[in-house]
């Protein structure tokens, strides 16, 4: 079955992110806390995966490990086919800067920089000449519909606009993997839906995304929803049929 409008259509079948048997334990026995236990997850280019679960289920740990901000206790993490284990620190940092974009609940924009400067920052930090980085930052803002706010500082933007700038910063410069932790948690439901729509659109352009959320309405924007509980994957949605089945009154 093809799914052109569901993300992933026409993009590479190669996994951008792959977790193989990933476990994470904090502390030592007998007080050790197992945050993740043997998690397998594969996310292809153009695919948006939502990870849902209650507080303490391991969602955020999964994201920090996927983003190479933390190492798993056991298991393997591959980003764009490259295993993170044993990768030198410098190379890993470069991979984080060039391939992975992060979106946080509280935006994490630098208050002293304008929207355009914030969006261009990852490229400038990576050594891209400033004019080129700024042009790419502006293009990212344009794609997210906030180019007219380019010269404004974060405190001059609404919550929805700030998150759009944060998404622009996360996708600027052809990032391949987007990791979002409750990206619309601080927004009202309409703006939250809009943010998820923009993330989904980014995926349709070929980005792979993992979005952590406890909100079913936001998770429903994803192509696949993975359920996490006590550090284990307890279920996932299979690809649903298109919306036409709803209008036709099809049930199962």
């Amino acid at each position: 079955m093809s799914r052109p409008e569901h993300g992933g259509g026409g993009h590479s079948a190669v996994s951008v992110l792959e977790l193989r048997g990933v476990s994470k334990t904090y502390g030592q026995e007998p007080t050790a806390v197992r945050a993740l236990a043997g998690v397998d997850l594969s996310v292809r280019a153009g695919e948006m995966v939502a990870v849902m679960g209650p507080s303490g289920s391991g969602k955020s740990t999964l994201l920090t490990i996927a983003g190479s901000l933390e190492d798993p206790t056991s298991g393997e993490v591959l980003v764009c086919g490259m295993a993170l284990a044993g990768m030198p620190r410098g190379r890993r940092a470069r991979l984080r800067r060039r391939v992975i974009g992060y979106v946080f609940q509280d935006f994490n924009l630098l208050p002293g920089l304008t929207a355009a400067e914030n969006a261009a920052l990852p490229l400038e930090l990576d050594g891209v000449p400033v004019p080129r980085a700024r042009a790419a930052g502006l293009a990212a803002l344009e794609a997210l519909g906030v180019a007219d706010r380019a010269g404004r500082f974060p405190d001059q933007l609404s919550g929805g606009e700030r998150q759009r700038v944060a998404i622009a910063r996360a996708v600027v410069g052809d990032r391949r993997l987007l990791l979002a932790d409750e990206p619309s948690g601080a927004l009202d439901s309409v703006n939250a839906g809009e943010v998820m729509h923009l993330l989904h659109k980014a995926c349709q352009r070929g980005v792979a995304a993992v979005v952590v959320t406890h909100d079913a309405q936001l998770a429903a924007w994803a192509d696949r929803i993975v359920l996490l509980r006590d550090g284990r994957m307890t279920g996932h949605t299979t690809r649903p049929p298109g919306p036409e089945s709803l209008l036709a009154g099809e049930t199962r």
Binding site: A222, G235, P240
Partner: protein, 98 residues
């Protein structure tokens, strides 16, 4: 109702029932969201209907979450001694006359 039956029938794993129902609801929500992303973007009436359905399904998912926690707590709590069954509360139907 399914959850209630599963919780009462010996040998049935209520958590499995909850999980299967949750996944089904999430898949429905994905379909409604695709509609919201497509046709409903230019059709206010349809957008309102889709929103209503999404909020309704979301409420059921939340109820399943709450039911799961309640069942887990009940399973962890020490069993009550077998005694007379709890009195059934007398519910007065709204508008009923004696």
């Amino acid at each position: 109702m399914k959850v209630l039956v599963a919780a009462r029938v010996p040998g049935t794993d209520a958590h499995e029932v909850i999980q299967a129902h949750r996944v089904y609801l999430l898949e429905l929500m994905q379909q409604w969201t695709r509609l919201k992303e497509g046709e409903a973007r230019d059709d206010l009436g349809l957008a309102l209907v889709v929103d209503a359905e999404l909020f309704r399904l979301d409420a059921v998912v939340r109820w399943l979450d709450a039911a799961e926690v309640r069942l887990a707590r009940a399973a962890a709590a020490p069993a009550r001694p077998a005694s007379a069954p709890d009195p059934v509360p007398q519910l007065r139907r709204l508008g009923a006359r004696r």
